[in-house]
Structures are given as structure tokens and as C-alpha cells.
Symmetry: C2
Subunit: 312 residues, 2 copies
Amino acid sequence: MNLPAEPNGLVLNISAVERETGLSKDVLRMWERRYGFPRPGRDDNGERQYTPADIAKLRAIKRLMDVGLRPGKLVEHSLDELNALADVRSAPRKDQLAPALERDVLALLQAHDAPGLQHTLANMLMKQGLQRFVLDTVTPLNRAVGEAWMRGDLQVFEEHLYTEQLQVALRTAVNAFPRQSGVPRVLLTTFPHEQHGLGLLMVEALLVPEGVQCISLGPQTPLEDIRRAAVAHKVHILALSFSGAFPLRQATDGLASLRRQLPPQVTIWAGGEMTRRVRKTMPGIVLIPDLASTVNALRSWRAHWVPQASGY
Amino acid sequence: MNLPAEPNGLVLNISAVERETGLSKDVLRMWERRYGFPRPGRDDNGERQYTPADIAKLRAIKRLMDVGLRPGKLVEHSLDELNALADVRSAPRKDQLAPALERDVLALLQAHDAPGLQHTLANMLMKQGLQRFVLDTVTPLNRAVGEAWMRGDLQVFEEHLYTEQLQVALRTAVNAFPRQSGVPRVLLTTFPHEQHGLGLLMVEALLVPEGVQCISLGPQTPLEDIRRAAVAHKVHILALSFSGAFPLRQATDGLASLRRQLPPQVTIWAGGEMTRRVRKTMPGIVLIPDLASTVNALRSWRAHWVPQASGY
DNA sequence: GTTCATCTTTTGTCTTGGACGATGGGTTGA
DNA sequence: TCAACCCATCGTCCAAGACAAAAGATGAAC
């Protein structure tokens, strides 16, 4: 087994790179044409062979693109420079809220201590109560974990473990509340292509203690089905969550379309990081730029609501 | 409703069809070239516009391919013939187990009765216990829901509601078990691009009552991170789930790569619909073609395991 | 008759290079 | 200050050809 064995060690074809980086084959070929990067070797059949170094740099670029940077400016930098860039971007906005807890959780993740993590989360939850836990603990924790991942201090699987354990904790707490048949009925979901469902669970965790009846469809419901579901379930509020990376135009178009097609007595909430990038006010859409506003929006809705016939 | 109705009503571009059917753009174009199906209309820019009828037939074909049939033979049949074919194939393995329950659940979904659905699921779970619930109730229910969706009897959002409520029920039950620090430690996840995480939860629900310590990373962990996580958590077993639609080649390549990179004392389980299409035996990979085999595989592992030093 | 190896057909993926249109940033004008 | 516009950037789609991998069919040996 001491042959030249795998001369290139590990090489990946274009499909594997698409899988590993999330960049489509078309994009990979186009970048090669336009920017000269990546410029993979070729096998006997002329097919591209990417190296692990290519993957690393592509991942770094993808990370930075997800926070708004453009690929054309990024490809010319080295991997080290890209990582430095990521550091710079995450440094400025720091808040002193429970930095000790954040350090603890990051340490637990890096030590791969799943039981310890679960214990810590459950502990904080019981101590603070569900709503405070979400607002004061989970929100800054999410940011800390996200930044640690950007810096490369956390690996993908460590971040996955965090998300999973957090969902377990939140789900357990939400289910502990007695089933409500109350008002309002809220339908929770995201647009197609929006992967992140954690926000939905966090919103549910804020609403359920207020006596709201939440109906969650999970992430990625087609637009037309969101409309149908809102009508079928006769909901009072339709709550949609958008992560920071979601294309602004796609969101506003979709929201406007839903607003047109749904009866006016259905309130539409749009929340999540993306909503901070929205400039124009959208008639008939309530923007919820941060989680704390959710409860306010609920109070406001209740203040103005008058029971109506026809199930609404 | 007897108008030519919506001239463009709903048309999808090739990306949307890829998303909806799981067939790559390349495959869709190649089928059009080779078989003349689908033959979508074109917009002003010459881009393909697929109709909902195209989608329905493509889905029917995809489903039959997932059980081993070849596309060349399928494209020439009508949608009705394809559905008939599917019925024939699914008829043999019919279990008379609770067809009444299946009808009930479908009826609840179509009536959009979320509380009723949740109540029914929780009821069955308490009556049967977690493991029997997963094996005897959830498995056939999933099939029934999937088939109803294929037939168009269920809308997307109704299927989403089912998945969500089922996850709530399973998650609640799994969490009710005391935290185990036991042996074996099992790492659960899926490959990138594998959307379906429900299988992971079902496996977890089967293993936790056996005293297994499950560490779930949720779906879509990059290959390299799966390897790192298995090592970091010093797991005895790595369990991977693949839906029927998952590309066979990608799965076998990935599994072989993991097998090469992980120490031999780490057992690798590959489960899910896809594994039924696997022909060649893969050395060092335990195939788990159905959920019931999971418990057997665990028993077998325990029978052969001898405690070792170095944490394994 | 069964099993294994080889050949053929089928099917999926990769290739190139061109084109269009959506998105974002910047500038101009009200 | 805000909206409308323009331009550069960037992603997706198209066509047709080539080849490789998988599945099925054939034939030979046991």
C-alpha cells in the first residue's frame, strides 16, 4: 500500500464540489470562465478535478457571499485573506450580554459534549422561562455560534449539533404548554428555498405562552400552498420567516402576491434578518425586524381585533 | 371553471421542475432530446415552460424509477397507466394493519383539523408505545400519505402539516426517555442534499428505548464533517438515512469514502428507501432496508461488541 | 440448470460557448 | 431625502456532442 497510491490524494469532480459547497455546476464553470478561479486540473476524459484547497477557498467565498459580498471581489483574495475578512466583519458588533454563557456553550460545542450542552440549555430555559430564554439567551447565542462558525472556530457539524439540541429544548418546552384552541390562530412557515426553520420554532415559543394557537407547516412551503393553507385553516395571522441571505426581491414580490390574494382580515407578519434590509413600507404587511417585536405585534393585533362572523 | 382558465395558469421553469421532481436539469433536457417527453412550451426567451401535468407525470415516473423501473419504458405511458402500474406494484405488500387509521388520518388532513390530527397521533403513540408506533403505525401512514400526495388527493401544505405534527409527536416521546450515557453511542445524520430528516427521528425513536445514546446532527451534514463528528464524538455506530430519491452513485461513493476514512471499529449503517436499490454488497457497510431491521442490527452489534480501550 | 464473465443497450453526467435577464450599486433628478 | 434610472455584475438557461456507468442480455463453463 506504499505505492504512489492516490497521487492527488483526494480530487473531487464537479458534482462532488456542487454537493460540498452548494455552488451549482453552472456557477462553477462560469467562475472558471470569468475569473479564472477555480481552475481545476482535468482527468483523462477532460473532466474537472478539484482539489481540497479549491473546496476550502470556495467555502470561504460562499460564506462571505451569504453575508452580502460579491464573488468577483472575493476570488482574487487568498484563503487567508478571506478568513481575515470574515474576522473583520464579525468583530465590530459585540454586545456584553451573557458573554460568559456564550463562552460556556462554545466550549461545550468544541468539546463535543452533547449531554452537557443539553443540560446547560435546559437549565437556562427552566431558570428564565420560555419567552425570556428565547429573547435573552437564544438570540445572542445564535449570533455567537454563527460568528464562531464564520471565523472557523466552529466546524459545520458542531454548529449542526447546536441547532439540533436547541430545537430539542425548544420543542420540548413548547409542547409542555396545554393545547390552545385560542385566538388568534397563527400559521407559521417559510418561502421555498428558505432552509432555516429554527426561526419558526422560536416564534412559536414566544407565541404559545401568550395563548396563541400556532399551526406550523415547517419550512419551504410553495407560495400557492401558503395561500391555500391560510384559507383552509382560517387563520387570523400568517407569519413568515426570512433569513438574512434571502433574496429581497423574491420576498417582497411573494409577500405582495400573498397580500393581494388573501382576504384583508388576515394579517401578514414578515420577520427575520432579511426584514432589516427592507426600505419601502409594504402596505398590509407587518414587518417584525427582531424577535422582541413579535410579542408587541401580537398585543397590537389583539387591541384592534373584533370578533367576526364567518369563522374569522 | 370550464374556461381555458389560466392560459399561463401555472408554468414552471426548469429549475422549479428540478426542485419539484428531483430530476436534474440535464436529465430533463436529455429526456426531451431522447424520448420527446416532457416537451414543454417555450417563453419569449426560448426557455422551457413546464405545465402542472408535466410535473405530475414526471413525479409518477420518478417514483416508479425509485423502485427499479427504467425511464425509457415509462415515458410512453399515460399518467393513468403509470398510477395503475404503481398500484399494482404496491398492492402485493399490503398490510391490513389499521387501514381504518390511514383513512382517518387522511380525512383529518383534508379537513385541516390540526388539533384532531395531533390528538390521534398522540393517542396511538400512548396506546402502542413508541417502538410499535413507529413500526406499525408511522411507516404505513407515511406510505399512505405519500401515495395520496402522488395521486393529488393531498395538497403540499396538507402533507407539510402531517410531517410537522408527526415530528412533534415523535420528538416529545423521544425526549420523555431519560438521557442515556449508554452504549452504543450512535451518530445520526444525512448526506448533503438529502432533505428528509423524518427518517432520522424515526430511527432515534427506535433506538432510544433500547438504551442507546443518540447524537443527531439533523439532515445535510457535509461528508467531511460527518467524518470529523464521528471521530470527535467517539461514536460506535454512524447511522445515515437516504430517501428513495437519493442518487445511488452519490450514496455509494460517499459511503465508501467514509468507510475508508473511519477507523474499522466504527460501524456504518445505511438505511432508508434508497438502500433497496443497492445491488452490490458494500464491504464494511451494514444495509438497513427497513426500519424493523434497525433493532435487529442493534442486537447483532451488541452481540459482537467487546469493550475496548481508547474510548471505543 | 446455475453461475460467472462479457457484450450491448440504456441512461446519466460532463463538456463548450453563447445569450439573456435578474440583482445590486451608484448616479442623477425632483 | 427619496425615487427613478442606468450600468456592471452575476447566475441561469440553451444546444449538441461525447463518454462512462449501470442494467440487461448473451454465452460459456461447471
